[in-house]
Amino acid sequence: MLYLTTTDNWAFSVTVTVGAYAAQTYTNSASNNNARLASNGLLAYLNAAGRPWFGVVTWTLSSARSSTAGTRFTYTCGNIFTLNAGAATCLGLAAGAYAGAATSTTDAAGSWWPKVRPSVRSYARDLDAGDSSGTGATRPGSPGAALYKPSVEVIANGTDAARLSQALKTAASPRTVSVYQAITDSWLSLSLGEIQRSRQGVDYRFNLSCVGA
């Protein structure tokens, strides 16, 4: 899956009330500016020692692909709780009273979860070609500070392709993206440049021009 930084207001506040405990309000840091960072920020807050239910109620977070190829989060605590609408736009969590778990009713902002996992390869430093002579060669840049240039490819169906276009509508500029690399079980934060789309029968192939730090 893939999470874009978007122009939404990521400094949102959401108020959570668990059972008879006092209401708690989480304010997301504006630097947590994609759905992955914000959802994890909320989870950490809900399980932090400062919460009145700490030690009694434990929250867990899971995510799943929606029918429109976005991400739906589920927060579970096993107790009755309520949410206000503060996280509706960014995380898709609607205001309401919940019995044990709350699942996003709309796709999280900037999320893209194609059916086939994105291929992220060659996350390695890349130096341009330089000059050479009979006695040696000079390549531009510093090997230790050169850019990471992974290859990011996705095979997508029609719904996946439509969802990416929808998510890109609100992508922030400069455009950055958080991509999951399965082989290293890690998230890569990348600058997302040109996106090339080509038809592959009834599906699409996406080549994402990405550069990371």
Binding site: T68, A145, S165, I195, V211, A213
Partner: protein, 233 residues
């Protein structure tokens, strides 16, 4: 899937009920000097509804007026109530082509007018292939020292690659040009009356024609047109 069609939006300079004819495809007049026109650009069928509303208001003695289009006969009909009074319609500019009439300014005509031709503003299609929207963005991926990069992006629309398939009637409509330029709405399926969205890929698209290729003859009385339609995001 049934009933694909494309409609164009009419031109409008704004204002309604004016008493001067505009050399455009937005208005027509009766012999009583009443001009009817939408005050904003409107889709062909909406424009017909506006004409009817304005005629009903301007000439209530002959209301209810009829301004309609039949997707079966592919003709526009304009009529006033009562056979005793026959309005002679003046069609300034290209209105005649727009609605598929011969330009007519005479009198003594019957009170029901039905177009002789297919309108230039709408075409019934054999089918329409609309590709999933593609984000249309200019991108500058700037790379800096110490491993830093910024992808600056800007843009304001999405694009759909579209292929229209039509028979001779569609060919006659589309060749007039109104469906190949400006703002259009394309229904892939007339039973789906909601707009294209990620959860409604069969919905209609409503946007501006960025490019349109020539008619390509596919077979006996079957033509196709490749188009690029931009939709504001």
């Amino acid at each position: 899937m049934a009933g694909a069609y494309i409609e164009s939006y009419c031109y409008s300079e704004g204002g309604s009920g004016a008493t001067v004819a505009l050399e455009a495809n937005q208005s027509f007049a009766t012999d009583t000097g009443v001009y009817v026109r939408p005050s904003v650009p409107q889709r062909f069928t909406d424009q017909l509804a506006t004409w009817k509303t304005q005629l009903d208001a301007a000439i209530p003695a002959k209301a209810p007026w009829v301004c309609s289009y039949s997707s079966t006969t592919k003709r526009v009909t304009i009529a006033s109530a009562g056979a005793a009074w026959a309005p002679a319609l003046t069609l300034p500019g290209n209105v005649a082509v727009w609605i598929g009439w011969q330009s007519y300014t005479g009198s003594g005509a019957p009170h029901i007018y039905t177009g002789q031709y297919v309108p230039g503003a709408r075409a019934e299609l054999i089918g329409a292939t609309i590709e999933v929207a593609e984000d249309w963005t200019q991108t500058e991926l700037a790379q800096y020292r110490h491993g830093r990069a910024n992808a600056v992006v800007w843009g304001n629309h999405q694009v759909h690659k579209v292929t229209l398939h039509g028979n001779l009637d569609a060919y006659e409509s589309i060749k007039q040009g109104y469906l190949q330029s400006g703002r259009v709405r394309i229904y892939q399926d007339s039973t789906i009356t909601t707009a294209y969205a990620v959860d409604n890929l069969g919905g209609y698209i409503d946007g501006y024609v960025i490019a349109c290729g020539p008619a390509v003859e596919q077979g006996d009385r079957w033509w196709s047109w490749d188009m690029l339609v931009g939709v504001s995001r």
